[in-house]
Amino acid sequence: MSYKYAIITNTGKDFFTHQDRLDFSIEGYIGDVWVVGDNEKGVAWIANKNGVEKTKTEAQAIVDAKLSTSQTQWDALSEADKFNDSRPTDITLP
């Protein structure tokens, strides 16, 4: 399956619908990165949401930067606080 990559802010209710989920794949990541199935309806959804398209490399870089910040913050936590949440793991976009 091929994908489109875009930066879109989740606006809440009906940002995507149940029908959207049936029509194309949608996956959200940190940094407002959305990975959308590359078909006619997926492309139209990105346009309708005023999404800013990125290449896969660009989108991965945005996620990596956010993740690096989170991992640095986690590393600085006390041992007690670390119990409550495991270290953010690396994310590889599809």
Binding site: N10, F16, H18, L22, E27, G28, L67, D85
Partner: protein, 325 residues
């Protein structure tokens, strides 16, 4: 008392197997599966999907949930310090609810938007046994659990709930009758960050979890008398607050490490459902329905979230289970 066969014109039959062509509304007891069944009620039919819901007013992680997709409630949080915040959902947007008396994150939730229950929670160093009841506008402190615990498995109603295991309680479990917590027999496998579903203190299922460095697929049911091991989940996950529904129609959403996996349980086995759009752990699922629920907040990639997704399973008329024994 009016007999069922008088008001409906049919007797409840005891049968070794389901009848081949039951009438609509016919009720029978299946002695092989020990289930009371009825023909032509709405039952899950097909795979459920997620749509986006209204976002929480703030990012939250480690919060508890109650209610349904159109009448939901979340409360507590461990975003920043332990929080007393509560929010009510109407199927479109979240509004502020009455705050907990005791700020808690990683607490458990049960009940409805107008009759909610919060129990346990807190950081690992100081888990709590505090219990509070919600009346739709404010929380009241009630009798505490017999043991402190956080990241436990909990579900039920405000007057009939179960809590089990959690940190650092090993295998201990208790039931709540609306007034007091009572100790019941221990679960089989100790763990914490466990998902749960159930609508009473005699019909409860707990699943997933984490212990000794490993995520779990284990499923255990409580029938009011004893715990029994059931078929494992398909995906090992830490499912704190990610379970909802009943013992026979349960849902497990998201979980840790950051997961978008969703599975449904029919009282016997687990099936994969469509994934969440955004993988998250420690978000809150509504407690009451496994077919029309929500999953709000949580944590993804080390970042707390405010997003809500709504789960809907298509329903069709069929043979439903009324209760199990």
């Amino acid at each position: 008392m009016t007999a069922y066969n008088v008001i409906r014109g049919l007797k409840v039959k005891y049968l070794g197997s389901d009848p081949s062509n039951p009438e609509n509304g016919e009720v029978w007891y299946n002695t092989s599966s020990n289930t009371l069944k009825i023909k032509n009620v709405l039952i899950p039919s097909g795979t459920g999907t997620w749509g986006s819901g209204g976002s929480l007013p703030a990012v939250n992680n480690g919060l508890a949930g109650a209610g349904t997709q159109t009448s939901g409630l979340v409360f507590g949080s461990r975003t920043g310090p332990q929080s007393s915040s509560a929010y009510e959902y109407d199927g479109s947007s979240w509004s502020g609810g009455g705050g907990l008396n005791n700020p808690q994150g990683n607490n458990n939730g049960a009940g409805s938007q107008s009759a909610g229950l919060s129990f346990g929670g807190g950081p690992s160093g100081s888990p709590t046994n505090k219990t509070e009841e919600y009346n739709g506008s404010s929380w009241s402190n009630v009798n505490n659990m017999g043991f402190t615990r956080t990241l436990a498995a909990g579900s039920g109603t405000q007057i009939s709930a179960v809590v089990a295991t959690g940190y650092s309680n090993g295998t201990r479990a208790q039931t709540y009758d609306g007034t007091n917590w009572s100790t019941i027999s221990n679960v089989g496998s100790p763990r914490y960050s466990v998902g749960a579903a159930g609508d009473s203190d005699s019909a409860f299922v707990m699943f997933g979890g984490y212990i000794s460095g490993a995520n779990k697929t284990l499923t255990e049911e409580w029938n009011g008398t004893a715990w029994s091991e059931q078929n494992d989940m398909n995906n090992a996950r830490q499912l704190y607050s990610g379970g909802c529904g009943t013992q026979s129609v349960a849902l497990a959403a998201g979980g840790g490490p950051d997961s978008n996996k969703v599975e449904s349980y029919n009282g016997t086995s687990w099936s994969n459902e469509n994934n969440l759009a955004t993988a998250r752990r420690s978000g809150a699922a509504g407690s009451q329905s496994g077919t029309a629920s929500f999953f709000a907040g949580g944590r993804n990639g080390g970042t707390d979230q405010s997003i809500t997704e709504e789960f809907t399973t298509p329903l069709s008329l069929g043979v439903g289970t009324i209760s199990t024994v």
